[in-house]
């Protein structure tokens, strides 16, 4: 690869420490990836059948107003210059104005993002707490009933349409059993009772010490979070099982057993420790997937997060919001990917 050869060339010329070179390469990679991401959203915005000028000034504007807006938006400039302006704007946190809400897109996103974050975090937590032990047990007792259960859980998780499962959950646990609250983030009576500090309702309620609000928020979030948690559980347990099998078949595990260590020590102190870095990268990926997977879930549960924001904007042709939301989710996605990659490279000596 050109990258490695140029690195070797650099090594000969000046002695850059390897960690610095790695960090620089990573930064360059991130920068290029993000630039590419912006380019794709920029192009999507340009090939849209919607006239961006009309979207801003409305259809009744005069030709003079149209021309003025046309120039103000910089649409007369070459495409590359327009892209440069777009990138500069985005770097300053300016995604333009939302046609639907009339506010800055960045303001809107800052408002809706915590809701998604709260949902995805709780979902990942559920997935990790249940998925990792399930995967480990499935690997240790390979072929037993617990392995079959983990396989079955995974299969169902990979095969169910998430929006449909959400509706079934609402039908059963809200409609028939009445165990949880319905769609939305908080009941009508509880809205605005706790001051908005973090945007995460559960945390806000805890800080304020208002446990009735906490209970209501929990009752609203638990069903969608379990749903998302189930999907990440399917993924995490499968990966954990596969990683563990690899370790359990290694010779050092046999040695540990021959030495007379207890099965608990062999599994958790030897094998599991060796998969922990791999596992963290998988969890980071699962988390990124949930941020995205929450789009359909948010719609089913009327959850006011970034997924609902993007889709409602999409249906009302509000492209600034759609692209802004896409860039934000894409950036978080890239960040989590890079994070897991770095973790792997720096902490796992086998990756070198």
């Amino acid at each position: 690869m050109a990258q490695t050869t140029s690195q070797k060339g650099g090594q000969r010329r000046l002695p850059v420490p390897s960690w610095l070179r790695k960090t620089l390469t990573t930064f360059a990679t991130v920068a290029i990836t993000l630039l590419g991401l912006l380019f794709v959203t920029f192009m999507i915005g340009r090939v849209m059948p919607i006239d961006p000028v009309l979207a801003v000034i409305g259809e009744r504007a005069t030709q003079a107003q149209y021309d003025e807006a046309y120039l103000a938006l910089g649409l007369d400039k070459p495409l590359l210059v327009q892209f440069g302006i777009y990138v500069t704007d985005v770097l300053h946190g300016d995604f333009g104005t939302s046609i639907r809400t009339g506010k800055q897109v960045s303001e809107d996103i800052a408002r809706v993002f915590p809701a998604t974050l709260e949902l995805a975090t709780l979902g990942t937590l559920i997935g990790v707490v249940l998925g990792v032990p399930l995967g480990v047990l499935a690997a240790v007792y390979r072929g037993s009933w617990i392995d079959q259960i983990s396989r079955f859980v995974g299969l169902i998780g990979y095969s169910m349409p998430i929006f449909w499962l959400g509706m079934m959950g609402l039908l059963i646990f809200y409609g028939i059993l009445g165990w949880v609250a319905g769609p939305g983030r908080l009941g009508v009576f509880y809205q605005g009772l706790v001051p908005d500090r973090t945007g995460l309702l559960l945390l806000d309620a805890m800080i304020a010490g208002d446990w009735t609000v906490f209970k209501d928020a929990l009752s609203h979030i638990i069903l969608p979070a379990c749903l998302l948690g189930y999907y990440s559980l399917a993924y995490i347990s499968r990966m954990t099982r596969s990683f563990m099998l690899e370790q359990l078949n290694a010779e050092y595990v046999t040695t540990a057993r021959v030495k007379g260590l207890s099965e608990w020590d062999v599994v958790w102190k030897h094998a599991f420790r060796n998969i922990s870095i791999q596992l963290i990268t998988v969890i980071a990926l699962a988390y990124a997937n949930l941020l995205e997977g929450s789009v359909l879930t948010e719609i089913i549960f009327a959850w006011p997060g970034i997924g609902s924001y993007i889709t409602t904007s999409l249906l009302s042709n509000d492209m600034n919001s759609v692209l802004g939301g896409t860039v934000v989710i894409g950036t978080v996605f890239v960040a989590l990917n890079i994070f897991s990659d770095l973790l792997y490279r720096f902490f796992d000596p086998r990756a070198k």
């Binding site: 095969s159 169910m160 089913i300 894409g330």
Partner: protein, 311 residues
């Protein structure tokens, strides 16, 4: 499959010919390999269940006009939201009085159509990009893989949403959007395979015989990438079905009155608490087809890639 000249068929039958220890011809060796694969596949009960479900759905789609009890598009408002079993409607009727069972049958055609198209377009795109990157190496590799990473970095459903928004809603655009988001993993697999093959002796031999890069890639590298791609595609088919259904659910895939399963769920959403069957039954259909693909994919992986078996 061409038959060899010396046919041991009269004495031993096909089975013996297929399981012969020493194949007499290339055709026999190839047939035997396929047969062994099939035997291994057949012994995998779950994979066979998947295959049977899938065949059943395909038959339903093919013979939809014969099996349907009603016209899937004819509305009858006097007969709306009938429960399953009422009045000759096996699965009941929807909010416009259309027969859900008949709509399901015709909807199977749409799902299979979408899956087949995506399963053709996306791997081919990935195969081309990945093998070129892997074989060429150097800056071509870096550029192409950086490009692939950019697409991988995008959340798939959201990218598909943005594409459909730009292209306009509809089945073909949904297919295009899903393909554009689905190809990067195939490119990565194809590149990885190419890198392991690139420096092997047989490639050197072919190159010394004067084969050009195009011939080496298409005739010698592609065939070796196919099996891992096929496994990946079969495993991905369930995901394709689910993404397509998700787009349909959001109103961005097949347009009404088309009986697309995701769109049918979206329609039933309003009535979920009172008339559960309108949304539940199309959901079960989506579930069974993606379950079938998942089972089949697992089974195929065990057959084609024994080292990954049981993982």
């Amino acid at each position: 499959m061409t038959q060899p000249t010396a046919k041991p068929q009269e004495t031993l039958g096909w089975r013996a010919w297929l399981t012969a220890d020493v194949p007499a011809s290339r055709a026999q060796a190839r047939a035997a390999a396929w047969f062994n694969g099939w035997l291994r596949f057949r012994s995998n009960t779950l994979a066979m269940v998947g295959l049977i479900i899938l065949l059943f759905i395909i038959l339903c789609a093919v013979f939809a006009p014969l099996l349907a009890t009603h016209d899937p598009f004819v509305q009858n408002l006097g007969n709306r939201l009938q429960p399953p079993g009422a009045d000759g409607h096996i699965f009941g009727t929807d909010s416009l009085g259309r027969d859900i069972y008949s709509r399901l049958l015709f909807g199977a055609r749409i799902s299979i159509y979408i899956v087949l198209l995506v399963a053709l377009v996306a791997p081919l795109l990935g195969l081309i990009v990945g093998t070129i990157a892997g074989y060429a190496g150097g800056w071509v590799d870096v550029t192409l893989m950086r490009f692939t990473d950019i697409f991988l970095a995008f959340p798939r459903l959201i990218l598909a949403l943005a594409f459909v928004a730009a292209l306009g809603a509809g089945i073909e655009n949904a297919v295009l959007a899903i393909s554009l988001t689905a190809w990067p993993p195939y490119a990565r697999i194809a590149r990885a395979e190419t890198l392991t093959i690139r420096n092997s002796d047989f490639i050197h031999a072919v190159r010394l015989q004067g084969a050009g890069p195009v011939r080496i890639i298409t005739r010698h590298i592609w065939p070796l990438c196919i099996s891992s791609l096929v496994i990946r595609v079969t495993l991905d088919m369930a995901g394709i079905i689910l993404t397509a259904a998700g787009l349909g659910f959001l109103g961005l895939g097949a347009q009404p009155p088309s009986p697309e399963w995701g769109a049918m769920i979206a329609e039933g959403r309003k009535y979920i608490l009172d008339y559960w069957w309108v949304a539940t039954i199309p959901g079960l259909a989506i579930f069974s087809i993606s379950l079938a693909f998942n089972l089949l994919g697992d089974g195929l992986r065990d057959v084609l890639d024994p080292k990954e078996a049981g993982r």
